[in-house]
Subunit: 403 residues, 2 copies
């Protein structure tokens, strides 16, 4: 019998191994597809939680990512990888299939922003310390080019913090130098990215920037100022202009608005740009083409974010301050009126719509909760406990200019 | 020895099996991510070719799909499945990971169009024979509801062909009855989809329809007519209106334009709608908000498709007729002028941009070739031999309203 046992044992082991391999394949295989996965920054925990929109549950977590203050995630156009750059200066790549780390690179001492080129070949980080831009090969993670944030003033070379990096048409990156007060256009269409244009901002102390969803205008905010710089990226002759967020004929408290919120908070919908005004319970509405002040919309509190819903019919507004920060107000883009107000959860940090607009994912930081909201009925369809949830990033961002 | 042989043989077989399992896992694992895959209809062959944008080569083929005339492919929001409905009346589901069939359902004798609900739960096919709409559970492929294309005329109930089915805001489907001359709005937000509204078209003999990219207007074309019906889906009171494609003050040949091209050929970009006019070497430009005729643009030939590039700065136009059908003309959306003309390959059938706009995929049917074109330089970066290639469908469509 003995000689037969190894055979039987082998067979059993073999079958078990095959079953194991099958099981592993099953585990790698999702209950739905890869795009059901949404990443949520757990800010204080330094982790990314993975929420599955199909299963409506948290399916994983990537820990130890560093300082995730203002951390933004971007995705490869092939949906193989996600990339996150941290205030710790580390860029981490995440395999979207296995949800495991797939490479880490220390690009600087502190990075603030990240973008991916339109052809998917390059990832770029904007850095505070030592100050500059690092461009990496998206596949190999090799550093392809470092551009220090150098600028000249009074005959001396200084180093500037860089922020607001985005992808732009023509396979470019655009970013802004904070101390340098310059907009940089980097052409990433050749073998090696090159600094194509340096354009002074129209005012001093830029601190954040955004690109309109059509990739046409780059908008720069300035500290302690109600003015923004608007650069038409299509114009042959670069001529950044100053646009005021002050309502004509309206009296302002001295110094208000003192500071603009981050520019990711601006919503561009149909013919309007919706701007949360800090220090005021109003949303400014600018004309999308002329950038002229159209009117303002009274709100229940101090707005923080304005997010356009897919289809551009509505803009959802979130608030600061305990009395208001659990609420969302819905503004009709046609009538420019508030058409609905509803409560989600305390200290809302982020609103992310599913791409065809059926649902919104909302993080309520003070309640440690991620909410799934039906965008038609405003019903809360799911809630998940997370650790100090902040930014919410869906894979559809891979296909959206400027994200 | 004999007893040991089975053991050794088993071990060898076992190792081979394990290696095979490993190999299969490797094969399932992509060189890039799943979104690198683009599906190309091979019309006469009844197959779908799979082109990998990252590897720039054809990596697979799904055969025997039936009659693929005008076949359109749609994708689940999770990117687990693609769906194609054929003129043979068969809906085939394709696993986007394994590229194998994952279910087939005979929904009718002939289907012409397909759509997926915004929440991803339902797939709907518009059918010519026997005429109606079939709505399936996107996961189980169970038929959830069949709605025959019934309409009443002169006191009698008739059966109509149905076409132009699209997803619309509020988790709805919209389609049009050809003989019935009715627009149907189906509410798919509950457990079972219900026919919510039936709205007569503003003219007779509708034959195709489209929805604007913001999901607001449903546009229906009528046979032998230069008029289209435009329905504002936002309006409480349904009031379809007639919009004329005739240029005011312009003399027309009797009867021209005789027939409109398929409405997927209309491009909506910034404030304009670009309409290829059949029988004329011109593109009509309508105002996006008022639908008033703005002007027309002279072209090198008879236009077939107008496709907006991401960013909405350009519209690429293709042509019919041997003298012109290898060419693309690029229209500037701002100046409404042709700014570039270039040759790709004979009998262009489809232009599909990558979502951030770096490249376009173009099929040249008469040359049996798929071209990858750099959208900035117009350089042809890759060409692949395919069998009578027609429609090109990228996975990013999963995230685009109306596709």
């Amino acid at each position: 019998m003995t000689p037969r046992v190894p055979g039987a044992a082998l067979l059993a082991a073999c079958l078990a191994a095959l079953a194991g391999a099958h099981l592993a394949a099953d585990a790698a295989r999702l209950s739905a597809g890869i795009a059901s996965r949404v990443f949520v920054v757990e800010r204080n925990a330094g982790s990314l939680a993975v929420y599955d929109l199909a299963d409506r549950r948290v399916i994983g977590r990537i820990e130890g990512l560093g300082n995730l203050q203002h951390a933004v995630m971007t995705f490869s156009r092939w949906l193989d990888f996600g990339y996150i750059a941290t205030r710790s200066g580390r860029l981490t790549r995440i395999d979207l299939q296995s949800l495991e780390r797939a490479g880490e690179v220390q690009t600087s001492k502190s990075s603030i922003d990240i973008a991916i080129s339109q052809d998917g070949r390059f990832v770029a980080t904007a850095e505070y310390a030592p100050g500059g831009v690092t461009i990496l090969d998206a596949r190999t993670l090799d550093v392809v080019r470092r551009i220090p944030g150098q600028f000249e003033r009074d005959g001396q070379v200084h180093l500037s913090r860089v922020t607001g990096i985005v992808d732009a048409p023509g396979n470019r990156f655009v970013c802004v130098l904070i101390e340098g007060a310059e907009i940089w256009v980097i052409d990433a269409s050749g073998a090696e990215p090159v600094l194509e244009r340096r354009i002074p901002t129209a005012a001093a102390e830029p601190y954040d920037a955004m690109i309109t969803p059509d990739g046409r205008y780059y908008v720069v905010a300035h500290l302690d100022s109600a003015d923004v710089t608007v650069l038409d990226l299509d114009a042959r002759e670069a001529s950044p202009r100053v646009v005021s967020l002050r309502e004509p004929g309206r009296a302002y408290d001295q110094g208000a608005p003192r500071k603009l919120p981050h520019l990711a908070s601006w919503a561009v919908a149909q013919g309007s740009v919706f701007v949360p005004l800090v220090g005021e319970k109003r949303l400014a509405v600018l004309d999308r083409d002329t950038w002229a002040f159209k009117r303002s919309i009274e709100l229940r509190g101090h707005p923080v974010y304005a997010v356009r819903a897919p289809g551009e019919r509505h803009v959802w507004v979130t608030f600061s301050g305990e009395a208001d920060d659990a609420f969302v107000q819905v503004v009709d883009v046609g009538s420019l009126e508030v058409v609905h107000t509803f409560r989600v959860g305390a200290r809302i940090y982020h609103v992310e719509f599913t791409p065809r607009g059926s649902h919104a994912l909302i993080t309520a930081n003070a309640e440690d909760t991620l909410f799934l909201v039906n965008a038609r009925t405003y019903a809360i369809e799911d809630r998940e406990t997370l650790r100090s949830p902040s930014g919410v990033f869906g894979l559809w961002r891979a296909f959206t200019m400027g994200l």
